[in-house]
């Protein structure tokens, strides 16, 4: 009996030492899982997940504080990708309505802009060009559709326009049971 206890204790010590040594020797800087999660998020930096951007949300998921279903711009695709990455079960999206919104970009009605720079300060990806008392304009290619610029505008001259499909960006729809319905739908 003494021998058994001693053996187990000995094994535990040996393995403990190996683990401890590995934790120090093979330490990785930063938080690789948070980086991987961040790589899957759409980077709209909109804050709809209630975190201050995509990176804080990624870190929250990594530390287990947040669920994986809180990103409306990412939609179903991102949630499934996160579920696969983390080995968790998929969870239905939090905000169903927001999830189905088409991609849109901001548009500033130039006739009404007063040059207050409030929207420039709000944009998380610096997609609005302009300066104090100068015209403000949204760079469409850089706009992620996060809508953070819409509330600060004092004259409400920013509107969201849905992005239209062009022949170059058009996608074939998923085939449904009767093809004629799908094609003509």
């Amino acid at each position: 009996m003494i021998a058994a206890v001693a053996t187990i204790a000995g094994l535990a010590t040996v393995f403990g030492l190996i683990l401890g040594y590995s934790a120090i020797r093979f330490r990785v800087e930063g938080d690789p899982i948070a980086d991987q999660i961040d790589a899957l998020l759409p980077q709209t930096q909109c804050g709809q997940c209630s975190f201050a951007g995509c990176r804080p949300y990624a870190e929250a998921i990594a530390s287990g504080e947040a669920e994986i279903n809180r990103c409306p711009p990412g939609g179903e695709t991102t949630m499934i990708a996160l579920a696969e990455l983390l080995g968790r079960d998929p969870v239905p999206l939090d905000d169903e309505a927001a999830a189905e919104k088409p991609k849109s970009v901001a548009y500033i009605v130039e006739a009404e802009c007063i040059g207050c720079t409030l929207c420039i300060q709000a944009c998380p990806v610096d997609a609005i060009m302009g300066a104090a008392k100068q015209m403000h304009t949204v760079i469409i290619d850089e706009c992620t559709g996060c809508e953070l610029c819409v509330p600060p505008c004092p004259v409400e001259c920013i509107h969201m326009h849905p992005l239209e499909a062009t022949p170059q960006t058009w996608k074939w729809p998923f085939p449904t049971r009767t093809r004629t319905e799908a094609a003509n739908g």
């Binding site: 709209t44 610096d126 058009w170 998923f174």
Partner: protein
């Protein structure tokens, strides 16, 4: 000129009823000019062309109206003289039915030519670079249907990397006969074009692949090759099997080599061109004529007088069909291309472009309404006929599951969308539709990933900038505070204090005076 037999074979393929006789009995017909020509700026693979004309400008036949905006792009020329009446979004021939920017020309009926570049008298004296530039400025693109800019295709980097030039005269898809009749009528121009292209790319020989259901065209080509004394060009008759005219399949048939999976024919020393493209090259180099027209087959039970027509680009399809006798009864579908790979047009109010090789108005008898899709029974018939030797049943499984990673493991992007698999499927599954869906989804996801990477970088840069500004502000404040503390002592303080006291007294006095005033006025 010796005739060769085919060297290689490819897996699968289908024997289809070729329906060629309907449209190739008569010679190519000419057309009158319609009252409007709508020229989309995107008639080729690559970036849209940029307009170089303005609204209401008068243009002449062959004048460049839009120039190539990028290396992989092509220019567009006015097919006749007239006035530019519109530059705007109009419906274009595309499976989506969407619109794109078009230049609309109203013909003036004169059909007067612009000043064309001088014909090249001896192309052998020209450098390949100069000849390529002429092809580029003539707006020539591949006329087999894919419309890849020819000047880019024949730019093989200066060295003789290309050993064999292959001319695709197979025209394997049923119903289409435009290349067939072109060979019968313009075989000499085609052979001239072949010689020019061979000179540009430095190939040592040329093989022309033609299916054995075109004996008259084959004879015409043989005669032309002999009469031009071209001993480096050989006609190879391949057995009629769909899709022998697929670029990769034809190269395998004629040379036994396989184009590598994510590579180009140039990687194995081969270059492939369509017969109509070579005729256009001959026109451009030897006659200075830019690409403004092509032969289009109009056929199917849905039109009264099927045949081939010489059509200028921009001709509305409605007009063209009317010239072919009009619709015989309301056709079930109007296809651009053939029955296997063509796409259905939603409306006939779109123009003929450089990629329009055939208009097929099918009746319901020829192209029956598709049956509802049944579950896949894994019979493997699709894999038996796939010319790319893929496993369509596996790709279908993952496309249905929206699993875009797994489907790429089964080499989705090697699929040439020929339709053989869907043709034989007993469950009537629209397999090609699934693969197209998967491909466009994957491209969209990649585009979005690239965009979100950029957005992340911009966001990080912005965060860094804000932090930097914050640090600078703090540093400034710190310096100021230090400077203040360093100043020699009490005098500054005392004088400051005195100034503050004086100011406070002034404010108090003002307030008292105001109060007195209001009391007196209030009392009245």
């Amino acid at each position: 000129m010796a005739e060769q037999r085919t060297i290689g074979t490819f897996h699968g393929g289908l024997h289809l009823d070729d329906h060629k006789a309907e449209s190739c009995q008569k010679p190519i017909r000419e057309l009158p000019l319609p009252d409007r020509l709508m020229l989309p700026l995107h008639q080729h693979i690559g970036r849209n062309a940029e307009p170089v004309v303005r609204l209401n400008e008068m243009v002449r036949k062959g004048q460049m109206v839009a120039r190539a905006s990028d290396y992989v792009s092509a220019s567009i020329h006015a097919p006749t003289s007239g006035r530019v009446i519109e530059i705007g979004d109009l419906p274009i021939p595309h499976p989506s039915g969407l619109s794109d920017t078009c230049i609309v020309i109203e013909p003036d009926g004169e059909d007067s030519w612009a000043d064309l570049p001088l014909p090249v008298s001896d192309f052998r004296a020209e450098t390949p670079a100069d000849l390529r530039e002429r092809i580029r400025s003539a707006g020539i693109v591949g006329l087999g249907g894919a419309a890849f800019p020819t000047a880019v295709k024949v730019n093989t980097g200066g060295e003789s990397l290309i050993e064999i030039l292959i001319i695709n005269a197979a025209e394997c898809e049923p119903y289409i006969t435009c290349d067939d009749v072109l060979m019968r009528e313009r075989a000499h121009d085609i052979v001239d074009g072949i010689t020019i292209v061979r000179h540009i790319i430095g190939a040592r020989e040329c093989l022309i692949g033609i299916e054995d259901n075109k004996p008259e065209a084959a004879d015409a080509m043989r005669k032309a090759i002999e009469e031009r004394g071209d001993d480096k060009t050989t006609l190879v008759v391949v057995p009629t099997l769909y899709p022998s005219g697929g670029e990769k399949q034809l190269i395998k048939l004629l040379t036994g080599r396989e184009v590598p999976s994510h590579g180009l024919p140039a990687d194995i020393g081969v270059l492939c061109q369509n017969v109509a493209t070579t005729a256009a090259v001959a026109d451009a180099i030897l006659r200075g004529i830019p690409l403004i027209e092509r032969v289009v087959t109009v056929t199917g039970q849905g039109v009264r007088e099927p045949g081939n027509f010489r059509v200028v680009f921009g001709t509305p399809i409605k007009f063209l069909i009317a010239q072919a006798g009009g619709y015989s009864e309301h056709p079930h579908e109007l296809l651009l291309g053939g029955p296997m790979m063509g796409f259905a047009l939603q409306s006939d109010e779109v123009p003929v472009t450089k990629a329009t090789n055939c208009l097929l108005a099918v009746s319901e008898q020829e192209a029956p309404k598709p049956e509802p899709e049944r579950p896949c029974i894994r019979c493997g018939e699709c894999a038996k006929v796939c010319p790319a030797n893929l496993l369509p049943q596996q790709m279908f499984w993952y496309a249905r599951a929206h699993d875009f990673d797994k489907i790429q493991e089964y080499h989705l992007f090697d699929c040439i969308e020929c339709g053989c698999c869907a043709y034989v499927c007993p469950s009537h599954i629209p397999l090609v539709h699934y693969y197209r869906y998967a491909k466009t989804e994957i491209w969209t996801l990649e585009r979005e990933r690239r965009k979100s990477d950029i957005a992340r970088r911009r966001h990080d840069a912005r965060q860094a900038r804000l932090q930097r500004l914050e640090h600078e502000r703090k540093a400034r404040l710190r310096k100021k505070k230090e400077a203040l503390d360093k100043k020699p002592g009490g005098n500054a303080d005392a004088s400051k204090k005195a100034a503050i006291q004086a100011a406070m007294k002034r404010v108090a006095a003002k307030k008292a005076a105001q109060q007195a005033e209001t009391q007196t006025s209030g009392g009245e």
